[in-house]
Structures are given as C-alpha cells and as structure tokens.
C-alpha cells in the first residue's frame, strides 16, 4: 500500500478537524441557548445556529467551496425552497378564516383540543 501522505493530506485533514471543532462548539451552543440567552426567540436562534453548521458542512465537508456550476445549482434549489416557504407562510399568516376554523387556536368549536387551557 503506497501511502502518499504529502503536505496536501495534512492540510486537508487539518481543515476537517478545524470544522469539526467549530461544529462541536455550535452544538454546545445549541444545548445551552434555551437556558441561557435570547430565550424568547429560541426558534430563530436555533435555526440560525443550524444554518451556520449547515454552511460549514456544505462548504468544507461537501467541498462546495471550489465549485462554480454546482454552487449555482444548489443556490437555485435553495431559492426555490425559500420562495415556497415565503409564499405559503405569507398565505397562512393572512388566514382569513382564523376565527371560524376548527383547526386554529382561536377558532370555533369547544376548546378541548387546545394545550394551554386555563380551567
């Protein structure tokens, strides 16, 4: 087995280790955030941390940093998903039948199906 452990190998390996440290740090943040800071926007913070981890993984572990065409295709797909999100979430935020719908929290019908009910 002729191994060829040249400089490039150690360079690339160092990158992997650096990224894993970054990911572990961000994971620690994930665990402590709901108990420590910005607790009223936990969802937003958690998703931001997740997004940061994702960018590190995609750029370095998935080698997207050096790619042009593939990078554009990834951006295209992600923009589509974003458009779907924005459109549908806008639609549901302007839900015109909120007061009458069975499935909303302020909708008609008895309230036996809601979680935070005061007796």
């Amino acid at each position: 087995m002729g191994t060829n452990y040249d400089e490039k190998y150690y360079e690339d390996r160092a990158k992997y280790y650096k990224v894993i440290v970054g990911l572990l740090l961000l994971t620690t943040l994930t665990f402590i955030q709901p108990h420590m800071f910005l607790t009223n926007v936990t969802f937003g913070v958690q998703m931001t941390i997740g997004l940061t981890k994702a960018i590190l993984i995609v750029l370095y572990y998935m080698h997207l940093k050096g790619e042009t065409l593939i990078g554009w295709t990834v951006m295209f797909a992600l923009s589509l998903v974003t458009v779907f999100f924005i459109t549908i979430m806008t639609d549901v935020h302007h839900f015109q039948f909120k007061d009458m719908s069975y499935i909303t929290e302020h909708g008609a019908d008895t309230n036996m199906h809601h979680a935070t009910e005061k007796e």
């Binding site: 894993i20 994971t27 994702a54 993984i57 572990y61 998935m62 779907f84």
Partner: protein
Amino acid sequence: MSHEEHGHEYVPEIATSRDGKQYEVQGWQGDFYGGKLGFWLFMLTEVMMFGAMFLVLTYYFSLHHDDFIEASSDFNVFLGGTNTVVLLISALTMGLGLLKMKHGDIKGAKLMIYATMILAFAFLAIKGVEWTEDYHEGIFLGLNALQPGHPESKPLGEILFFGMYFTMTGLHGFHIIIGIGLMLWLLKRINAGKVSPHHYILYFNIALYWDLVHLVWVFVFPYFYMIGAGDISGVLNGH
C-alpha cells in the same frame, strides 16, 4: 472508434476544427465531474423533499404554536443530543476515510468506513430506544393519544407535531439504513479493486450522501428537541 466500455480502458475521441486545432471529446465514460454533478443533482431532490417537510412543519407550527412548544418540551434532549454528536463524529470519520483513500491509504480508508458504520448503528440504536420509550408512554403512530376523540387524545397541534416527528425521524432513519447499505457496498467495491486512489468517485459520492444525511439532522434536532427546551413560559402565547 476509440473507446471501450470500462472506465480504465476508455480512450477519448479527438475532434479537429477547420484550422487544425484538436479538442478532446468528453465521453460519458470516465467523467469524474459528471459523476459529481449527477450526484449533487440527486441530492438537490432530497433537499426539495426534506425542504417540503420542513415547510409542512413550519406551516403547522404557525397554526398550532403553543401545542408545538408544549410537545417539544417533553423530548429527551440527552438522547437526541447524544445522537447529534454521534452523527457529527461519523461525518468526520467518513470525510477522513475519503481523504485517506485519495492518498493511497486503502486500509485506513476501510477502517474509517467501519467506524462510520458503527456510529451509524449507534445512532439507530439510540433512536430505537427513544421510539420505544415513546411507545411505552402511549405516544406512537396509530395509538389513541395521537388520534382525536379519545380520552387520552392529545391536543390537535401535539398530534400533528408527533406525527411529523415520527415521519421525519423515520424517513431520516431510513436514509441512514440506506447509507449503511451503501457503505457495505463501498467496502465490497474497494475489495474488488473497483474503487481505488485513482478511481474513487463512488467513495466521493457516498461521502456526500452521508453529509446530506447529517445536514438533515442538523435541522431536525433543534426543531423537535430544542424549541421547547428550557423555560417555555415566556414563549407560550398563553390564553
């Protein structure tokens, strides 16, 4: 004609322009970049698929905000967190294995694949423990807690939350099982000499696949386990 079927024997054609310049023709054989591009495109379909599932989740989070937070607060962050770290390390081992293969250390690469597989099994085992716990609490697909109209029925938002939880972690686990199968196949191909330091597109693509599986979990974990962690009284809108 100047080409054969198998990757190593293929000799590309040459096209000549009118002023005599020669251009190598890219054939479908031996196209490393094509293999990379093709697999990335396949992964984009997975992005669209899991993206749509996150859309469904967010849609119902919007309609049933408090129920979602309430349901999330019950989750076992310790088990889920361990799984997060397990998968994280497995992404490292997978990437290191590819690196070793590129530099000729086939034995080291195979060891890394074994390590990744062990971690993958560990992930599945922990997930199995979680699901079993849920089942024993009566929270599982088809059980009364997740169907309306029973005394044990959970609120509507929680029914949807748990439904999406089992769906998404189930599909994710299914992709892990496929990943383990791919790794076994990769080992076989390495032993047959078909995957080598000169011809490693298969290893490259399987590593990409594993990174995608990890990526999905990077979002699944906080969405289900963490939105209700900590003190939730400030987050619930209250009635």
